[in-house]
């Protein structure tokens, strides 16, 4: 099955480095300290941040820093295929773990000892690239909650379909393509905070793929900043002085 059109464009008409339509909205929930809805292609992910609050279970309390409690989960109706089972599965447990590592890197956890910060990522509709969408949204939700961070992280995937490297794979390209590399970076330091890879790739392809990701991250970052600016546009800075 061909995954690229004869003119080299992708089945949905995108060029190899084009992102799907991306919309980020900050502050969409009332009770959470911070929240964000990301709509990226058909993906819809809602991120919410609670805390810093007391640690539960208590014996995990770290006297030196806050714990990050990251939870990535897919709703049972989120996929285009069959009804999924609700609750965590092996895949979501693994993704929650590596997502937690991302936020442990950027959040100034040492400023909130003996506490816990919850980062919930609910995938409501999925279409490939949900983990990078979720982490991109959660980063905005953390900023919305006023949690001090070293950087606003963002992510996107790169992969090879029909022998060509393409950015921001949808579900079809992910399933039928030859590889998938979801990456989360810190745009400020250019460090890879989440890096996973599946499929056969040469070193050169990994290198080129990462350059495509760094390029795409500029666009994503801009949308994140804009979402936060929109949320806080009515705040009168005069009150803060």
């Amino acid at each position: 099955m061909a995954l690229l059109n004869k003119d080299g464009s992708r089945l949905d008409g995108r060029g190899v480095t084009d992102l799907r339509p991306l919309k980020i909205t900050a502050g969409v929930l009332n009770r959470a300290a911070g929240s964000c809805l990301i709509e990226w292609g058909r993906n819809k992910v809602l991120a919410a941040v609670y805390g810093p609050h007391e640690v539960f279970p208590k014996h995990l309390t770290n006297p030196r820093r806050a714990l990050i409690n990251a939870r990535y989960i897919m709703a049972p109706f989120s996929s285009q295929e069959e009804h999924g089972r609700s609750g965590p599965n092996r895949r979501s447990i693994e993704i929650s773990k590596v997502a937690r590592h991302v936020f442990e890197n950027v959040v100034f956890t040492e400023r909130f000892p003996k506490t816990m910060i919850d980062v919930h990522m609910e995938v409501l509709q999925s279409d490939g690239g949900t983990r990078v969408s979720a982490i991109t949204a959660a980063s905005v939700a953390l900023a919305d909650a006023g949690i001090p961070m070293r950087d606003l992280v963002c992510g996107v995937s790169v992969g090879r379909v029909d022998g060509k490297l393409v950015v921001d794979l949808d579900k079809y390209e992910d399933n039928l393509g030859e590889s998938d590399v979801p990456v989360v970076i810190s745009p400020r330091t250019k460090e890879l905070l989440l890096f996973q890879l599946d499929g056969l790739l040469s070193k050169k392809e990994v290198s080129e793929g990462l350059d495509m990701i760094f390029e795409a991250a500029n666009v994503i970052r801009e949308k994140q900043v804009q979402a936060l600016a929109d949320k806080f546009k009515d705040v009168d800075s005069g009150d803060l002085q």
Binding site: H101, L200, L201, S202
Partner: protein, 256 residues
């Protein structure tokens, strides 16, 4: 383990001079030993030892219904068990996130490398052979992932395909060996205070801020990657690690 935590400062001090707590070079693995066919009742098995770490891999076959989107392919499944006999901090119970991550990282390397010819496991419409690879951690002295990967590859390389008659497996009769299309090893590197080392022991793992696991095949492809832990990696660090992983995976695969 508190004893391992106390050594953290000492490990970091040594690494500043490019030295390791057990005297190894930064990129050196501990001694590797493979024991094949340890479990005769399994269709394939192997114990891999890397230094003081010991992992037993067992391979069993069953008749299965194929996945709907892959009707002509056998099913391959990886599980792992962090047995309480292996470490004072391991408790009996359902797999935790470390156990799940280990099984999935080993799985992804072997699956992406297309090591097992899954089409050869097709029996008839609606029936395929399922291959279950279970990774039993017996002794944990660091670098479980690479040891488990090595145990899995060794076990699969010595796996016999059971005879199937009238839709049933005849145990202890075989039609031949499981053919491996491509061999792959997972290599894990830990980052401690900015210094990257291969094959960390358990004390070094406690001191580590982040790790990168790369599976590279015998013909030089990167088959899977998993970054874990708080520390980030630069692109250059990743590129250097791909080279080092290719070199080290050849070294590891010589033992299987």
């Amino acid at each position: 383990m508190i004893l391992e935590e106390i050594k953290e400062d000492y490990i970091k001090e040594l690494l500043k001079q490019k030295k390791r707590i057990d005297g190894r070079a930064l990129d050196a693995y501990r001694e590797i030993k493979i024991t094949k066919d340890f479990i005769q009742n399994a269709e394939g098995s192997a114990i891999a030892e890397v230094g003081g770490t010991k992992v037993l891999a067992g391979v069993k076959f069953d008749i299965m219904t194929p996945f709907a989107d892959r009707p002509d392919e056998g099913v391959v499944m990886f599980g792992s068990e962090f047995s309480p006999i292996a470490h004072p901090d391991f408790n009996a119970g359902p797999p935790d996130e470390n156990s799940i991550e280990l099984a999935r990282v080993v799985d992804r390397g072997i699956r992406s490398a297309e090591s097992i010819d899954v089409k050869s496991l097709f029996l008839e419409e609606g029936k395929v052979l399922g291959v279950f690879v279970d990774l039993y951690i017996l002794d944990h002295s660091g670098n479980l992932i690479d040891t488990a990967g090595l145990a899995a590859m060794s076990a699969l390389k010595n796996t016999k395909i059971p005879k199937v008659e009238d839709g049933k497996i005849i145990r202890n009769e075989f039609t031949g060996k499981l053919k491996l299309v491509r061999e792959v090893a997972v290599t894990t590197f830990e980052k401690i205070d900015g210094v990257i080392i291969a094959d960390a022991n358990s004390e070094e793992e406690v001191a580590s801020e982040g790790r990168m696991s790369l599976s590279t095949s015998s013909d030089g492809f990167v088959c899977s990657a998993q970054k874990s832990g708080k520390a980030g990696f630069s692109k250059q660090e990743l590129m250097d690690l791909i080279d080092l992983s290719s070199e080290k995976s050849k070294e590891l695969l010589r033992h299987i």
